[in-house]
Symmetry: C2
Subunit: 409 residues, 2 copies
């Protein structure tokens, strides 16, 4: 069991641009310090390479199924017949079905350590909301989730499981907050931006509440490095390519940063390429601009320097809701800028085809998000010489995404 997280800030070959406030309005950085668990603020700005995982969090990791398995994709290899060996780390064994739980457990622990009794967050399709709901339950906290109303009405499964875990879930815009009431009408589809504003306001308007963010912030990426730290121990050989999909970057960072760190320090993985796969519907790394922008659509949070399509960019609706995000985390954006990470993007149809091939050869129905990585692996397996090795992160299963498969088939 891994006992510390890896902080890539210690090894980056260039200075990571810090979050900053916009020229106008109140300080967003000041706001962050009032709504986040305090330890997370320290982690966000830490330059320490290794951060100890508190014993209670390690214990929670163990109870939910860590370390997760590293598997050889023998069936897929046979189907491809390219003589390339393929390994994947599988985060879908976690009870919520995705990697999101790794940081939710850490954040819930730090909220409790601050004396909080309640945590709040926003969610779209519900992966993050489900992770927070379970983490809160396991640490004895109440959870309040603002879920975009269109998802609240159409994604009943994850909504139901958030409630099964004991969370209170409001469709956003809701009538519970000022921010919600400003937009409220029964048929408003909602947006992640409004939902974030509601969660933040909810936290500020009561005692002993903390806000838990699901991606983009550096501490979120760092918590996810348990994935890659385990993978480094489990991989029988160093891959020629390490692949993961990118929404905000936490799944990609979680899997690859420990390897990238070793490469940067000259300790291994020197021949490994790092491939970040995004949805063609939200191609920030392949087509975005590198600049300061808000990580949320309404500008509640501090600006960060990143590849972005603009914080008001609205991606077309695709199955991989978790990849419909306009920007990439600061450290990931910097690594892409420096050429250490290579971006790729794929259209949905090709991705779902790869997902079905994977299900039939490996047995696991992949989440549409994770299937982006699989799509890239198929390409790489054809292009790389025989005997090459590919490793990728299967960040979640698709058992709660049957609508995506039904539409595709």
């Amino acid at each position: 069991m891994v006992d510390r997280w890896y902080n890539i800030a210690a090894d980056l070959p260039a200075v990571l641009a810090p979050p900053k406030d916009p020229d106008e309005g109140e300080s967003r950085i000041g706001l962050l310090t009032r709504i986040l668990p305090s330890a997370l603020i320290d982690q966000e700005f830490s330059a320490e390479r290794w951060i100890s995982i508190p014993e209670e969090v390690r214990d929670a990791y163990r109870r939910v199924g860590r370390p997760t398995p590293l598997l050889r994709a023998e069936g897929l290899e046979r189907a491809l017949g390219t003589g390339v060996r393929i390994y994947y780390k599988y985060e879908g064994v976690l009870p919520v079905g995705s990697h999101k739980l790794n940081t939710a457990l850490a954040q819930a622990y730090y909220a409790k350590a601050d004396g909080a009794v309640e945590v709040a967050t926003e969610t779209g399709a519900g992966q993050w909301g489900m992770a927070v709901s379970l983490a809160a339950a396991l640490f004895g906290l109440r959870a309040v989730v603002f879920m975009t109303r269109s998802s609240y009405n159409s994604k009943r499964q994850r909504l139901t499981f958030m409630r099964t875990y004991g969370a209170t879930v409001y469709p956003s815009p809701s009538e519970v907050t000022e921010a919600g009431r400003r937009h409220y009408r029964p048929d408003h589809p909602g947006s992640l931006g409004i939902a974030i504003s509601e969660a933040v306001e909810y936290v500020l308007s009561g005692e002993k509440r903390r806000y838990l963010p699901g991606s983009v912030l550096e501490f979120v990426l760092m918590h996810q490095t348990v994935i890659g730290l385990e993978a480094v121990r489990q991989l029988p050989e160093e891959p020629d390519a390490a692949v993961a999909c990118v929404g905000g970057g936490s799944n990609f960072a979680g899997f690859t940063y420990p390897m990238i760190g070793m490469k940067l320090r000259g300790e291994g993985f020197d021949k490994t390429r790092f491939v970040a796969v995004e949805a063609e519907a939200a191609p920030k790394l392949t087509k975005g601009e590198y600049k300061y922008d808000f990580p949320d659509a309404v500008g509640v949070l501090p600006m960060i320097k990143m590849y972005t399509l603009g914080h008001d960019y609205v991606p077309p609706p695709v199955h991989a809701a978790g990849l419909r995000y306009h920007g990439a985390a600061p450290s990931l954006s910097l690594l892409r800028k420096l050429g250490i990470v290579e971006p790729l993007s794929y259209p949905q149809e090709e991705v779902m085809k790869a997902a079905v091939l994977f299900a039939r050869t490996e047995g696991i129905v992949p989440a549409p998000e994770s299937a982006h990585a699989i799509r890239a692996v198929l390409d790489l397996a054809k292009k790389l010489p025989r005997g090459s090795v590919i490793a990728f992160n299967l960040s979640g299963h698709g058992l709660l995404d049957s609508d995506a498969y039904e539409k595709f088939l």
Copy 2:
């Protein structure tokens, strides 16, 4: 990795009544020999204690995630505060989310060994259909599934995943078979009996086809003993009670038979009680009669001696569709008759309450079927003295049963 299945026939303290033909009509036993993979007929009547698991099946077990974990229910123990230690074996890590895959893989292998290119079966809620679809895909066989029309229309998720795995799924009654056409109307809800008749007819009407049954037959129970054989190795202490739910008996047998066998042979588990938990909606072990009856509603298969509510018994619709079965497998029925297995039954409302408590304390949302075992564990934990030990089988997760949770909450 376990390399042989356990056949309890070798250790039963009384003779197991064999399947028999009804007084009228064609031989059902003769029919079985024409539709099943041939090795399975041998296994059904074998008196050997140990049956080697073919290397290809062991390999498939490994690839889908065996051995599955044995976990300590620390969160549930704390919530109960009764000083009882609780362990559970978790089959939900298998990609289809339940134990059904253990026998589906074995049966698909034996079908292929017979030279079959196609397998057919029936399914209600879809757990068995999903397991057969994946097993067929992994062994390079085509799968045809007859799914009761009411489930076909309402259980879209498992239907979609069967297709994702490549299966052809017909709503039953279908227009594909004579048996289906006899009952066909677009609004006929279908029944498992009709669906079985369709699958059997489909197999008989073509070349290189085999029929795969999901429960009740003794070889099905035997394949599931991988669960208990692993558990015996993994359990750090012998339990005072071993608990599992009962539909037809394969999940219960899979978990407990290796322990019951050791008890019968005087090799251990001498203080262990074996508790079989059924739905109050289908209480064959608690209220049924011990006699010869058909295992299927229309009498296609041979009669078996079992506790039964009558093969025409129609249980009320409950969330735990997998437990809505009128009989219990012959060996399980005999063990109950002999007092070696104790039956218990619970109503749905109490079971779902236990399921929610388990989700909030352990993180895993249990299948409504498996939650019956959890409900019994709560009772036992209160009744047994402090320091007692309980082990149960969590046969599957409930991520494809959100409708059950939505209705309950």
